[in-house]
Subunit: 119 residues, 2 copies
């Protein structure tokens, strides 16, 4: 499978709101996830649990993914726009992020999130 195929499947599933299907089927067991503040989480299960906690803290109204955009043989990037209401504030906000993904052996082995300074 080419990185183009992996990346297009990623974007298609995310645009259907199937982010957890992506994490369960396309993430390597030893994936490393890097948050905007630089904090790293290692391992497929801890990374999924991190997203579950985010999903529990926010009501997600919509998600739009632009891309994929490619660099070199094994990296792609996407631009996310989320419409969410944090349960802590009750105030609906638009969140934009960039995600950079590294692919090895048809699996995503690293994700790195770039976040706005306002979050």
């Amino acid at each position: 499978m080419s990185i183009q195929t992996v990346a297009r499947q990623f974007v298609e599933l995310c645009n259907q709101g199937k982010n957890f299907d992506v994490m369960r089927t396309m993430y390597a067991p030893d994936i490393v996830s890097v948050e905007g503040d630089g904090k790293e989480t290692a391992g497929q299960t801890p990374v999924i649990q991190k997203s579950e906690r985010w999903g529990e803290a926010n009501t997600i109204h919509g998600e739009k993914v632009r891309g994929p955009f490619f660099n070199g043989p094994d990296e792609f990037a996407v631009h996310f726009t989320f419409e969410v209401t944090p349960k802590s504030t009750g105030k609906r906000v638009t969140i934009e992020e960039v995600g950079v993904y590294t692919v090895k052996g048809d699996k995503i082995v690293r994700e790195q999130f770039f976040m706005t300074g306002e979050r």
Copy 2:
């Protein structure tokens, strides 16, 4: 100067179409530029010349930059949308890209472009 200040100045100047001002004033002398295909260009002057060649090959109608988005202490990303007409085809197209930038000592020392597969 914080990376937030550097990144916001970058976005503001690019949204004014002042990309060459960015390259001349914000790029380190030993900047490395990585194109979508992985090819690297080293040095401020060669990197500016690469952009000059792109500018000569395309009529640029507009540029919009989303971001900046931050990861860790020294990286930011932006999402570009260019409206251009390549002189080779005469056909106007919209080009989207993601750029990832590394900042050291208030200067941009590395840029990495993520491009759509269709280019």
